[in-house]
Amino acid sequence: MTEVTIQLLGFIAAAILIVVGMGGMLFLDNLIKKIIAFTLLSDGVNLLLVALAYREGGIVPILLPGMSIYDFTSRAILIFPAGIVLTNIVIGVSTTAILVALVIMLYRRYGTLKASVILKGERR
């Protein structure tokens, strides 16, 4: 039995979010629902990266005055995934905006939000 840490809980939550989001993107029919599932999916990936950076007994990577730099580098959590997560949040917002715009344009033409009607295959 492994010890339950915050990191493990983070991985579990990330797995749940990724599975639920992926399942929603693959199996739901409504386009807006697909987009909501996409936000859940990107949340899950963010959480996976943040949980990866965590270390037990670590500190927030902010160099406060009076802190020894050796102490800081040996205890601070990884700063690199934070950069990735910030980028991912921003890219997620822009992807959502583009997808919603396309859905609105297609709704005006077809009058429905069902992916099985709008995105049906057709012979050219």
Binding site: G21, M22, F38, I69, P81, T95, I98, L99, M105
Partner: protein, 498 residues
């Protein structure tokens, strides 16, 4: 190559100039767009030609000490191994040169062809070039992921810019999948980062070589799986090629020229990274070869049964990206040289065909084999150019397609896989058949009704100049392949020596 701490000046310029141009052009009025866009495209072309080779670093992380295999937490900045890095080497030189050449013609053609929403469209073209330049220069997983994500968003934008309902649908499908594959690439980035602790690819490979994989090979396989997913998606490999072929067919032909250049660059860059990171795992190369063989054949068979010239070319692009991935998947020296050389050649001859397809838009905009006919009488030049492009695409000497395909066939025979060599020949021949069907219907078939208007159509001069330049490039590379191969061979040797 001498490693120095000073950064190269040209790498940030290659990224920032397209970005700035995109921002400026987006807000400008009609008159000012053309000079600014064209001049900055010319500046990018000049930079890509004259730039020296070197590195650009962004930030540092603790270095791995090879003797003690421990991390050294040294606060001194020079003790850090700089991790996020871009490389401008011979491979980047040739690839960025060709894609910036295509960018220049694309920008000029879109200022002529588009009447409204010119600014945002040209901004998207510049951003697409930027993403492809980043993805070929990158040597760390973070920027690779950013470039793939931004690239797929821009592809969505360019596909939607065409304005028909087919293009909107294609863009929406591609956007939905960009979400899945981008998340997958981020997960695989996280797994590699968690396994090795390095985001720099060279460092991660050094770590894997030194420590071995041991128990963790499952994690590496999952990372490989997600990597392959984003590779398939970005390059349009089977079985999810319908997304990419639809995007190629639905956007404007000159936009497709840049799109296919970008996706070939993505295939080469991600493929080489996959080969370096996961090449020592068993079954990795086999998976890559299998995917590329399926892509080659399915693409060319689907191209045979299309009725629209644009869609024929779209599926042929899919099929020919199978050649590129086949060369990379073989993993030998000849295979890698053939694959990368094929990517360069592919970009060139597909651009000829796509520019000819763009010319059809000036003759009434009909590219379907059912509707368009007898264009050869109106413009013999375009007909000749299309036939030359078809010959180049099907690998007939003295054009460039021949040179790379013969290298690929030799590589397959050396590996003991003569069946794949046969398949390459089959795909080349079928490419010619598929193109010839379209060419005969559109250019040579006599009109059914006699009430055709024989009014002259003025093609833009730039289009003709572009077609001539790319045909000349094709012939020159076909006769003297060494002018491209001398860029590629040192890179391949360096990749295989690590």
């Amino acid at each position: 190559m001498i490693e120095s701490i000073s950064n190269l000046w040209s790498i940030p310029l290659l990224v920032i100039i397209p970005m700035l141009t995109a921002i400026i052009v987006n807000f400008l009025y009609d008159k000012a767009i053309k000079p600014i866009a064209i001049s900055s495209a010319i500046i990018i072309l000049i930079i890509s030609i004259i730039s020296p080779y070197g590195y650009h670093w962004f930030c540092g992380h603790p270095a791995l000490n090879p003797e003690t295999l421990t991390f050294t937490f040294n606060p001194n900045i020079f003790g850090y191994k700089l991790s996020l890095e871009f490389i401008f080497g011979p491979l980047q030189h040739i690839m960025i040169f060709i894609s910036s050449l295509i960018l220049l013609f694309c920008v000029i053609l879109s200022t002529i062809g588009l009447t409204k929403h010119q600014g945002p469209y040209i901004a998207l073209l510049f951003l697409l070039f930027m993403s492809s330049a980043i993805v070929i220069m990158v040597n760390d997983l973070y920027h690779l992921w950013i470039a793939v994500e931004i690239g797929s968003l821009i592809v969505v934008g360019i596909a939607a810019a065409s304005g028909t309902s087919i293009s909107h649908k294609a863009a929406l499908k591609y956007g939905l999948f960009s979400a899945i594959s981008g998340a997958g690439l981020a997960v695989s980035l996280a797994l590699v980062l968690g396994l090795t602790g390095f985001s720099n690819i060279s460092d991660a490979i050094m770590y894997l070589k030194q420590f071995g994989i041991g128990e963790m090979s499952t994690v590496l396989y999952i990372a490989f799986g997600f990597f392959v997913l984003s590779w398939m998606y970005a390059g349009g490999l089977a079985p999810i090629h319908p997304l990419k072929s639809e995007v190629y067919g639905a956007s404007y032909p000159h936009g497709t020229a840049l799109l296919q250049a970008q996706s070939k660059l993505m295939l080469v860059a991600i493929g080489i990274i996959m080969l370096r990171l996961f090449g020592m795992l068993p079954f990795v190369k086999e998976v890559m070869i299998f995917l590329s063989v399926i892509t080659m054949m399915i693409g060319v068979i689907m191209a045979l049964i299309q009725i629209d010239f644009r869609w024929i070319i779209a599926y042929l692009i899919i099929s020919h990206s199978g050649f590129v991935t086949l060369g990379i998947g073989l993993g030998t020296q000849e295979g890698l040289i053939g694959g990368i050389f094929q990517a360069v050649n592919d970009i060139i001859y597909m651009t000829i065909l796509l520019l000819c397809c763009e010319a059809l838009f000036y003759f009434g905009g009909k590219t379907s084999t059912k509707e368009a006919y007898d264009i050869a009488k109106k413009s013999p030049f375009i007909a000749t150019a299309t036939i030359l492009g078809a010959i180049a695409a099907s690998g007939i000497p003295p054009f460039n397609g021949f040179q790379s395909e013969i290298i690929l066939i030799q590589a397959c025979l050396k590996e003991g896989l003569p069946e794949i060599a046969v398949l390459i020949l089959m795909v080349s021949v079928t490419t010619f058949i598929a193109l010839l069907r379209g060419i005969y219907r559109i250019f040579l078939k006599p009109p059914e009704l006699q009430d055709q208007d024989n009014s002259n159509v003025d093609l833009p001069k730039v289009l003709i100049i572009g077609i001539i330049i790319f045909i000349i490039l094709s012939i020159i590379i076909g006769i003297y392949p060494d002018i491209v191969l001398r860029f590629i061979i040192p890179v391949v040797k360096e990749v295989l020596s690590i």
